[in-house]
Subunit: 348 residues, 2 copies
């Protein structure tokens, strides 16, 4: 029902050059207010969308931030959102959220939908599929069209934007060092496949801690789990894999797990095999979740400060939205949130 | 910068009656396609918004569902969202989410923002403040303007729309009956203040179960907690209140809590006071959360089937969006999702 219109058609209809239309849509100072208003109204009337992602015109500010996250049934992401909300509300911004469900195409669709006039900028964490495909064109296009992005947690160097990350490498290293200092001689790692950047960095932290203590890493102590979309649906299969890890390594006396569920399952398996936590096996997880706090024994974890990540991401985005610089001068920041080791009952 | 325009001005500019403009904007069959296109394009060009909430014009379908929930750091709400996503994606719809943070004004702002052309209809659960203020005008206005709403969990009879609710009353009654049948003689209730409808219904279920077993309810066994926005920030204060409940009722041998956190805190307090769960005190919660499953002892709960609620809500909304009936014939449904008692280790 709606006509689709191109830059060329707008130019012809209004008797101006394509370059003028393009600049007018980008609100360039080179173009007169009169022409800008004419072009923008015309483009709006015919729903012009450049590459299907609309421009964030400076005079169409929505004061709304769009968040795209991979999943919602996950305490980490909901804490990040709380942090974004806190800062956004303080500074007069609203927040809307879209979910990629770890799917590349859903991420693209959600970004298109929100970029189409609903929001001023994005805070996002990439889907696993995007990381696997290494296709980042939608992020770069969105930014080219004048809509800033701040990425958190899962980031890649190929996309130039502001980023907020956790110090995954040092967090993991700290945890494994703690296990070594507590007397563990045979420390297992339960991690994800390498395409998940945080899993990779945490694995490197584990390896470096071992190396610094002249403990050669053993392949049979490293369990790399092919993560599915839904932990809960695969708990039993996961538990079996972890049980095999324990059974094929009878001397195992320490476990570092890159998330909370893996760590809790390791404690469950230990209990099942008659091992006491922390006297026979010490366990450390990586998370900000509530399960760790309420587990019995409560779980020692590397705390990610998810809420602080969200707050920082919102600050970076709003600062950019409200700054007067044009994008040519743009300098991007990567803010690293330091992790803390929260010691509870699962370590000595 | 943008001009605000009224129905009257559109009518004058296009030389038609106000009633024609209004009908054209509602896409009425009485008006010719030509006039409708002219009016709609003009209204769009000048960003006409009736009562600040845009119409959902049939030819402007976005295939997007807006969800408004009170908070996100809550497993129940994230499971509902998963359910909505599942059905929405299957039927070709996208989902975006706004948070009210339990605030009336944030609820209104979020609805306005999303109703402004971003979505086709709402799935929502009211904020506590809205329930307290009993101000439902924004729901009714949104529906008057042709945008359907499906409410879930927290609903009120004053708003006529499709609803999906949990059988709170019978769920609670079932739980308390179980405690009675298991031999509990002195059963405490940990609930919320009455303005939260689900807390109220669960309280009624508790009272009726006692009555049916000729056990007169005792005021000192009922703890009504004034819920704050953030459980986690008030865990210690909560724990103290529950400890007082135990200490002033030394014969207490059963606890029914209207949510998971209250139930887990009751187990924690029991342990602290040297009481064994389930041998000295039996505890039942009300939730779909992950904490219950992973707690030690694991918690017996009334399961709410949150995901199923979300699925049902999405079905109701999409059916309405795709139906050919006009709103005058509208019949609203209330779907009741039956609860199940999931027995785990915290009861005998």
């Amino acid at each position: 029902m709606k006509r689709k219109i191109t830059l060329k058609q707008i130019a012809r209809e209004l008797d101006v050059s394509i370059s003028t239309v393009s600049k007018a849509l980008r609100n360039s100072a080179e173009i007169s207010d009169d022409t800008k208003q004419k072009v923008q109204a015309f483009a709006k009337l015919y729903n012009y969308r450049p590459n299907n992602i609309a421009l964030s015109l400076k005079n169409r500010r929505t004061n709304t931030i769009g968040i795209i996250i991979p999943e919602i049934v996950h305490h980490f992401f909901s804490k990040v959102i709380s942090g974004v909300e806190l800062v956004a509300n303080k500074r007069g911004y609203n927040v809307i959220i879209g979910l990629s469900n770890e799917s590349f195409s859903k991420e693209v669709i959600n970004m298109e939908m929100l970029a189409n006039g609903s929001i001023d900028g994005f805070i996002l964490s990439m889907s696993k599929e995007t990381l696997k495909l290494q296709d980042y064109h939608h992020f770069n296009e969105t930014m080219t069209q004048g809509m800033p992005i701040v990425m958190f947690d899962r980031v890649v160097s190929e996309v130039k934007c502001d980023k907020v990350i956790v110090d995954d490498f040092n967090g993991a290293k700290k945890a494994v060092k703690k296990l070594i200092e507590n007397g563990c001689k045979s420390i297992a790692l339960i991690t994800t496949k390498d395409y998940v950047s945080v899993g990779k960095l945490r694995t490197q932290g584990y390896l470096e801690a071992l190396e610094e203590h002249q403990m050669p890493p053993k392949a049979e102590l490293i369990l790399k789990i092919d993560e599915s979309l839904d932990y809960e649906a695969h708990l039993e299969a996961l538990e079996k894999e972890i049980e095999q890890l324990f059974q094929s390594n009878p001397k195992l006396d320490g476990v570092f797990a890159v998330n909370e569920i893996y760590a809790l399952l390791a404690m469950k398996v230990a209990r099942k095999l008659g091992l006491d936590v922390p006297n026979d096996v010490q366990v450390i997880g990586f998370t900000d979740g509530v399960l760790s706090k309420h587990a019995t024994p409560s779980l020692t974890t590397v705390s990610q400060h998810a809420q602080q990540m969200g707050e920082k991401a919102a600050e970076l985005l709003i600062d950019k939205l409200e700054s007067e610089f044009n994008s040519a001068d743009e300098v991007f920041q990567t803010v690293v949130i330091t992790t803390d080791l929260v010691e509870r009952e699962s370590t000595k």
